[in-house]
């Protein structure tokens, strides 16, 4: 409970009715106390309900992670991580999927990081309130809301077909990059906002131009926050399936990619394929759990680092 509890206890109870009769007065006070007690009880019950609601989230996270870890650990060993699948994907490891996911998510961040950071710099440092700013912000929030499968369709129509990239790492990374752009912009803006204005004023006061101020003062101060956003972007890209289904990923390819125009396997898509379209769905269950565990470790690990780092940064401000 917050400090409001102590405020309540400090409140003096005013008489609710004015009589000269002392007995009636005492009755009134009693009634009032009873009413107040009932309200407190209602409050207690409600707070317990709210606490349960909050706990359900924690329990859900715990159950999901527990099932994946408990079943996935059995599948994971060095061979699983370092060999390609064999026997039409019923045995063997997931090396090509790990490599593929790393290629895709790093490729995505190479695309979206510079564009995202530059956009955020414009929005936070240059733009003045007005119609242009409003339209750009509307564009970003709508881009963030586009369904992942629509990004997949777009990637297929634009990168794969129209730009003739074919189903390739390049097309997949570009599609994922476009998708992670709002994540990068959002977190970079937050980082830039957290830089105190006194830094900017001091730099400008020393005769630096706006550009010099941004590059030598604002960006270095915001760098940790911006990098945190980058990590979140990578993890978002690593976990997405629908955008790469039509643009980069294939059921099976034994070789590791040799150029950015190769098709590849990816962890999320591999889980989907094994769980729904594999040759022996029940027999490969342990492989599915294992792949899911690797993906979850990758994604949650990166997120945990970013979240902890960010909360540490916020405390410093």
């Amino acid at each position: 409970m917050t400090n409001s509890g102590t405020i309540q206890q400090g409140i003096k109870i005013q008489p609710v009715c004015e009589t000269t009769d002392k007995k009636a007065d005492a009755g009134c006070a009693k009634l009032f106390m009873a009413k107040r007690r009932r309200r407190i009880i209602i409050q207690q019950i409600m707070f317990i309900l709210f606490r349960i609601a909050a706990m359900i989230n924690g329990i859900a996270l715990f159950i999901i992670v527990f099932f994946i870890v408990a079943n996935g650990l059995k599948a994971i060993n060095w061979t699983f991580l370092s060999t390609p699948p064999v026997d039409s994907m019923t045995k063997g490891g997931i090396l090509p999927c790990i490599v593929g996911t790393l290629c895709l998510s790093l490729g995505a961040i190479v695309v979206s990081f510079p564009i995202g950071v530059a956009s955020a710099i414009y929005l936070n440092e240059y733009a003045r309130p007005g119609r242009i700013l409003r339209i750009i912000r509307l564009g970003i929030s709508n881009l963030a809301g586009v369904p992942s499968v629509v990004f997949g369709l777009f990637g297929l129509a634009f990168f794969v077909i129209w730009m003739k990239m074919g189903v390739s790492i390049l097309a997949g990374a570009l599609t994922l990059g476009v998708m992670t752009l709002p994540v990068i912009i959002g977190s970079t803006e937050e980082a830039l906002k957290a830089v105190p204005d006194t830094y900017r004023e001091a730099s400008l006061g020393l005769g630096a131009t706006k550009l010099q101020t941004i590059f030598w003062v604002v960006l270095p101060a915001a760098l940790p926050g911006i990098l945190t956003g980058g990590i979140l972007g990578i993890s978002r890209a690593a976990g997405e399936t629908a955008p790469i289904m039509f643009t980069a990923a294939v059921f099976y390819t034994p070789d590791l990619p040799s150029s950015i125009f190769d098709e590849i396997m990816a962890l999320p898509y591999h889980i989907y394929v094994l769980a729904t379209a594999g040759t022996e769905i029940e027999a490969t269950r342990h492989l599915q759990y294992g792949t899911a565990l690797v993906l979850i470790c990758l994604v949650l690990g990166m997120n945990l680092i970013a979240i902890l780092y960010r909360s540490k940064l916020r405390k410093k401000m």
Binding site: L49, R51, N57, V149, A157, G239, T241, Y272
Partner: protein
């Protein structure tokens, strides 16, 4: 001279950054453009009315039927049911975090909610498929555990983090003067929350709910793996359904390039895109029109 040069450079950089910042809009325009150029040709085969309200989706039979009404129904039902779970849970968690929980507990619960948001959708879909579906099948004695209810449950846990963290921001930023005023008048903490703080932050909470629902309707992997995949209008919440994203993701690989089926799937993408676009515009309008400006919001 040197100074002038720097000023020119500054001006140029301003335009360069502006140009880059419009990338998001450019991409949004490109998405719309390509969806429409690939999707509209289907209208040569069926009318808009038959496409949206047609009750049969048999894209591979001969002659093919392209009616996405069952798919739209699937999407809408799944989203509404998941909202019925995620709105109370999400908003209550947000109230708990912002108003009730001790600061130390808040530090623990908030990252948990954020981590819940970070779990890849394919993992949640996989979990729904191998753990929740058999459980539902045994426990409720329904023919298949892969159904509308299961999908809605899984989607709810994907949209709770969105609803929760955005609502929490809104509740947290309600001015303290309101709380103090209410408490000073003798209201309990609970009465203050329900009658003062929530009404004051209702616009932020509505935005959060709409964005959460928008996330649920566009989510692909969960409905693809868990919803069961039957393209028909569901009769009960334990019937399998085939929402729009699932249909697109499952069939695109087999659809012949630039055939009718291919165009129909892109047209389904347009419908889906319009749904989420509307949701986002409404959320944006609410956020701007009823923006909380200090005490003036009540």
């Amino acid at each position: 001279m040197l100074f002038k040069n720097r000023m020119v450079k500054d001006k140029l950089m301003n335009y360069l950054f502006l140009w880059i910042a419009t990338a998001s809009i450019t991409i949004l325009v490109l998405i719309t453009l390509f969806l429409f150029t690939e999707g509209l040709p289907i209208l040569k085969k069926v009318s808009v009315k038959d496409f949206i309200f047609g009750e049969y989706w048999y894209p591979t039979s001969d002659p093919a039927d392209f009616g996405i009404f069952p798919l739209i129904c699937g999407s809408v039902f799944v989203t509404v049911l998941s909202a019925a779970i995620s709105i109370p849970l999400g908003v209550m968690t947000a109230v708990y975090l912002a108003e009730i929980a001790a600061a130390r507990l808040r530090e623990i619960v908030k990252p948990i909610v954020e981590l819940l948001a970070a779990i890849p959708s394919v993992v949640i879909g996989f979990f729904g498929m191998v753990v929740v579906a058999p459980f539902l099948q045994d426990w409720l004695d329904v023919p298949t555990g892969l159904n509308l209810f299961n999908a809605a449950l899984m989607l709810a846990f994907m949209s709770i983090p969105t609803i929760c963290s955005l609502s929490e921001d809104a509740i947290y930023s309600a001015p303290d003067a309101l709380r103090e005023g209410s408490l000073a008048l003798g209201a309990t903490h609970w009465q203050t929350i329900i009658r003062v703080v929530l009404p004051a932050s209702i616009s932020g909470i509505s935005t959060a709910i709409i964005l959460g629902m928008s996330r649920a309707i566009g989510e692909t992997m969960v409905v693809l793996m868990v919803a069961g995949g039957a393209a028909m209008v569901p009769g009960s919440i334990f019937d399998p359904v085939r929402p729009m994203p699932a249909s697109i993701a499952a069939e695109m690989a087999e659809a012949p390039f630039r055939g009718d089926h291919y165009h129909a799937l892109f047209a389904t993408g347009i419908v889906l895109f319009l749904f989420t676009f509307t949701f986002n515009l409404v959320a944006d309008m609410i956020a701007h029109k009823y923006r909380q400006v200090g005490e003036a919001s009540l």
